[in-house]
């Protein structure tokens, strides 16, 4: 069960969990779900992760805008809202955004986490040669 839910195609979600653990052992508050061959299973797991959880706020990080994991997360929004839960969804998941928010997952609201993730995700992308040229 987690407040931050990573949803991806294939084994990427699980790899994000493991790789984040190389930096931060504490990952309670993080749940990961990878879409394999069984669409229904993924859908059910995601649904129980949100609707069946005691948490009331969720930040869902999806690998790809328009991809199936994202679509299924988006489709869950209305039901979640009816159940009194708040969901934020970001796409273009990257490691900088995940590492940035993990230490804060328990203490911040999902909209605060979203802002932090958005910023870290964007700022985590560097054009090294360009920045070196500009830094003189």
């Amino acid at each position: 069960m987690g407040k931050v839910i990573v949803v991806t195609h294939g084994g990427l979600a699980e790899s994000f969990y493991e790789t984040a653990g190389m930096f931060i052992a504490e990952r309670s508050g993080l749940a990961v779900l990878g879409l394999g061959v069984d669409l229904e299973e993924f859908k059910n797991e995601l649904r129980s992760e949100v609707i069946g959880s005691e948490e009331t706020e969720f930040l869902i990080l999806a690998d790809l805008f328009g991809g199936t994991p994202f679509n299924l997360a988006a489709a869950l929004c209305r039901e979640a809202r009816m159940a009194g839960k708040q969901i934020e969804i970001l796409t273009g998941l990257n490691l900088p955004m995940l590492l940035e928010i993990l230490p804060f997952a328990e203490n911040l609201s999902c909209s605060e986490l979203k802002e932090m993730a958005l910023r870290a995700g964007r700022e985590g992308i560097h054009d090294l040669m360009e920045e070196l040229r500009n830094s003189g």
């Binding site: 190389m22 052992a25 230490p103 070196l132 830094s135």
Partner: protein
């Protein structure tokens, strides 16, 4: 040099964590003490790109000891990549103070010590050595987190 924080953080200058400590301490300079990185102009440039809002110095141990005496760097955070770098820089010539251990990533030989720090037996020995020299060694990721005293 007015040191407001001695800290071990594997990722050195990064994101919200550094922002939080900078906000808490009012630091204007970060001094990274690392004998290897200090010889590498390219790495120094990259560290500077990570924190354009701060003055970032990357120095070796000897230069750090000089700076500690008389450098005018304003309120300064002194950062180390790991216990080995911290021990080398702090075991002599620096008055014992508090050393905060933040994020240390996993690596061969390291085992989970706290939620955010992996340490090897050798590194635990290094931190213990600093404690024996009078350093208060505390585990703490963020300024508002509760501190826990390092224990071998």
């Amino acid at each position: 040099m007015e040191t407001v924080l001695y800290r071990i953080d594997e990722r050195l200058i990064h994101g919200q964590i550094m922002t939080a400590w900078q906000g808490r301490t009012g630091a204007e300079t970060v001094v990274i003490v690392d004998d290897t990185a200090a010889q590498d102009e390219f790495m120094i440039q990259i560290y500077r790109l990570a924190a354009p809002q701060l003055r970032v110095e990357v120095v070796d141990t000897a230069k750090f000891h000089e700076m500690a005496e008389d450098a005018d760097t304003g309120r300064t955070i002194v950062l180390f990549k790991g216990p080995a770098e911290a021990l080398k820089a702090l075991e002599e010539k620096i008055t014992p103070d508090e050393l905060i251990v933040g994020n240390v990533a996993t690596a061969p030989g390291r085992k989970k010590y706290t939620k955010y720090a992996y340490l090897s037996e050798e590194e635990k020995g290094m931190l213990e050595k600093l404690q024996n020299l009078g350093w208060k060694v505390n585990m703490q990721l963020l300024p508002d987190d509760a501190k826990s005293r390092f224990e071998r």
